[in-house]
């Protein structure tokens, strides 16, 4: 890979956002062509949250992801080839074809797993955070979850524990306004979900989830607090899911008019323009970046399709120790 793999640079931040967009943009077509196994969920429109948050973490910090997790994996430095292969149910996939989209995990980069259960990541992230404290490893754990998951009892159980134990945990709510078809304003009591932090005695921070640097700054601050022993932070990043919940979602629950202002605030062109304006990037470099991302994705497709199917007998492997 030609580019820097560190998100220290704004260019790498932009590249990862572009890579997520390019990866998830393929999903409908791959699904229609019958190449993807199982359902998958695109995070188009939410790239700034994933990349901004992970850019503020150390390489060995932990994240837990969701059913909409490809972006989190890419943001943490995951391998698009292995992820694409897993989506296609191939031997070289992250789970060797056993999981599919909602099971991607890469412990080598601290990515503790996508999750098909809404709210399935809270406990895992809190456990990882507690382990970091017990091992005195200086790591933090960040739990990505959506505005739907904040209504699960698992959120409340873990928020309370994290509060009383002051865990090095960052609860990052990707408030994309929809729990599948359920609108956040109808589903979340008390209005703004950020207020829930107050009840558990730790800070709640609202951030513009369409602004990648704002997300990075908010998570960086939360990380400092976590490492100082001051406990968890709830970061609520306001963003918007540009596509349906899954491939084939009719989206009868929202209108084009409602989507328009969000689409105008697309985080990727916004950040690109900002870098161009501030001189951090030239037009030529930006175009080259586009090209590099397109190549990465083309290679991932090629890698995945060239990867063999798992043998049927492998279904009986890893059943027990």
């Amino acid at each position: 890979m030609a580019a820097s793999t560190s998100t220290d640079t704004n260019v790498e931040v932009l590249r990862r956002m572009m890579l997520i967009r390019a990866f998830d943009s393929l999903l409908p077509d791959l699904y229609t062509r019958g190449l993807i196994r199982g359902s998958s969920h695109a995070a188009i429109g939410q790239e700034a949250v994933a990349v901004g948050a992970c850019a503020a973490l150390a390489a060995d910090d932990y994240i837990t992801s969701t059913h909409r997790g490809h972006g989190h994996t890419i943001a943490k430095g995951g391998d698009v080839n292995r992820m694409m292969a897993e989506l296609m149910g191939r031997e070289d996939g992250y789970c060797r074809g056993k999981g599919g989209s909602m099971h991607i995990a890469d412990f080598s980069i601290g990515m503790l797993g996508a999750n098909g259960i809404v709210g399935g990541g809270f406990g895992i992230a809190a456990g990882a955070a507690l382990s970091a404290r017990l091992r005195k490893s200086g790591q933090v754990a960040l739990c990505f979850f959506g505005d739907g998951a904040i209504n699960q009892s698992s959120f409340h159980g873990v928020a309370n524990l994290a509060g009383i134990w002051k865990l090095p945990l960052i609860l990052l709510c990707e408030d994309n306004r929809f729990a599948m078809s359920g609108r956040a304003e109808q589903m979340i009591a008390g209005g703004d979900p950020v207020k829930r932090a107050q009840a558990y005695g730790f800070p709640g921070v609202s951030v513009d989830g369409m602004d990648v640097l704002a997300v990075r700054a908010a998570v960086a601050e939360a990380r400092v607090r976590a490492l100082a022993g001051d406990g968890p932070t709830l970061v609520v990043a306001a963003c918007y899911r540009f596509q349906g919940h899954f491939s084939g979602d009719t989206q009868s629950y929202r209108s084009k008019e409602e989507m328009a202002p969000w689409l105008e605030r697309d985080p990727i062109p916004a950040f690109r323009s900002r870098l161009l304006a501030e001189g951090g990037l030239t037009e030529a470099e930006a175009d080259a970046l586009e090209e590099e991302v397109a190549t990465s994705i083309a290679e991932a497709l090629e890698f995945a399709q060239a990867s063999p199917w798992p043998e049927a007998a492998e279904a009986w492997e890893d059943v027990d120790g």
Partner: protein, 478 residues
């Protein structure tokens, strides 16, 4: 009686709508059931028809959904909760198992919770580990619940109506693959199936196959194939998983004496165990019972070949049924089956391993030669086990089983089973008394086949079996 044709999904929807028309106490609640009409469209159109007070979109909170359903039920309403996927229902188990199921008993009958929890279960559509599970065994273990799992559209409507009217909590399991794949006649007008009895989906007398949901349809397909061999299987649609229709089961077994249970839920502690135990306790079995079920693995894989290999299917049912009707029984030889009294010994502790090989369609000589080579590499696979010693044979004598028309003769030192292109893709052979191993070659597809080795675990351990298959594969592919 006049009928109309519906898919199982449409029958669920009609059942909900009709009962909501009749009974204003019936309310629906769940994730995405209103505006979206449910992810599977079971409640499509019901929000417009009955309004948001009776078709309630809830937040993502399965435990709360179950708890609220219970509260509604305790105070005069008739809630039907939808849990989007059975995989998400684990989060709701606390209220279903810990609370609702116990209400009648712990209040000495003063209170009940007439609630229904509907959910979509089952695999077979590349859903992966989080969207494919079967959960019937969890709930069928809980006194105080009823568990229903319809297999046909008329039952989907009739049993759902009965579930809504039931005074106690009902877990109502709808197999996702039956939603659109299974259509059938549904009686016009009010239709209630509340008898708690199993349904004879196909009459027969050679053996009894019990299934439900999609597996019932696999069992029916298997029964068609078996009928071609002159084996008439009775197929029972259990449909009431709790309580089980014990009388109906024993009535059938009283005639057939042979039980085969098929379920998509995993094998160990599955409903098959309970059905086998009921049959065994009643003393109606003439041969050891058999089960075809999902292997005990931690999830259902997403990749095609692995999911297909794991899901129980009609071929395995045919295989198990053939074996069952061939088994000697309690000293009795049944007409129609091979019936040689001594070739099957249920007491042999068997282990099986499977490998995939490249193989031409015409391959018997090649396989015989490879078996000879593999037996030389692993001599204890051509042996006889006794408690004193494992007696290795100097000569290899292969007993060939080429199907019902040319079955194994019962002699030899090693059994080779090959049903050719018409056989199943993957079947496990049985180790014959006096032998320590048997090999089965599956049907060749696209130049490849699964080869399964069964061994007497007292004589051949897993590593030996692996060496046997590796040697075999090398010989076959060289």
């Amino acid at each position: 009686m006049s009928t109309h044709t519906l898919s199982l999904l449409e029958a669920v929807r009609e059942g909900l709508a009709d009962e909501m028309e009749r009974d204003p106490r019936v309310v629906l609640l769940g994730e995405d059931i209103g505006r979206l009409g449910g992810v599977f469209r079971a409640t499509d159109g019901l929000l417009d028809r009955f309004g948001a007070e009776r078709v309630i979109d809830t937040p993502m909170a399965e435990n709360a959904i179950a708890g609220i359903a219970m509260g509604l039920a305790m105070r005069g309403l008739r809630p039907v909760a939808e849990i989007q996927f059975a995989d998400f229902m684990h989060a709701a188990m606390d209220h279903i198992v810990g609370e609702a199921a116990k209400l009648r008993y712990r209040t000495a009958g003063d209170w009940t919770a007439p609630m229904v929890v509907r959910t979509a279960y089952g695999g077979g559509f590349r859903g992966g580990p989080y969207h494919s599970q079967s959960v019937e065994a969890f709930y069928s273990h809980v006194p105080g619940l009823k568990v229903m799992a319809p297999s046909f559209p008329d039952d989907a409507k009739g049993m759902l109506t009965a579930a809504i009217r039931d005074p106690d909590p009902v877990v109502f399991l709808e197999h996702k693959r039956t939603y659109r794949a299974i259509t059938g006649p549904v009686p016009d007008g009010e239709h209630v199936v509340a008898d708690g009895r199993l349904r004879v989906a196909r009459p027969g007398d050679a053996l009894t196959i019990v299934g439900w949901g999609m597996m019932l349809h696999e069992a029916l397909a298997a029964a068609d194939e078996l009928a071609g061999d002159g084996i008439e299987a009775e197929v029972l649609d259990l449909r009431w998983l709790l309580p089980i229709d014990r009388e109906g089961l024993l009535e059938s077994l009283g005639r057939t004496g042979r039980l085969l249970v098929v379920h998509e839920d995993t094998l160990t502690m599955g409903l098959g165990a309970e059905l086998c135990a009921l049959a065994a306790e009643a003393g109606v079995l003439q041969a050891p019972p058999a089960r075809v079920a999902m292997p005990d693995a931690g999830g259902i894989p997403v990749a095609d070949a692995m999911e297909d290999a794991m899901l129980p299917n009609r071929h395995q049912v045919v295989e198990a049924a053939r074996r069952l009707v061939s088994s000697p029984g309690n000293g009795e030889v049944r007409p129609g089956g091979p019936g040689r009294g001594s070739w099957f010994d249920a007491a042999i502790p068997e282990a099986s391993s499977v490998i995939e090989v490249r193989l031409p369609e015409v391959h018997l000589e090649l396989v015989m030669a490879a078996v000879a080579e593999a037996c030389r590499a692993v001599p204890q696979s051509n042996a006889t086990f006794t408690w004193e010693a494992i007696r290795l044979h100097d000569q290899l004598s292969v007993d060939l089983d080429l199907g019902p028309l040319s079955p194994a003769r019962g002699g030899g030192t090693f059994t080779l089973v090959d049903y050719g292109l018409g056989g199943s893709l993957l079947g496990l052979p049985a180790v014959r008394p006096g032998q320590t191993a048997a090999l089965r070659v599956g049907a060749v597809r696209d130049g490849r086949a699964y080869v399964a080795l069964a061994v007497d675990h007292r004589a051949v351990d897993g590593a030996d079996a692996g060496r046997f298959l590796a040697t075999l594969k090398r010989c076959l592919e060289e």
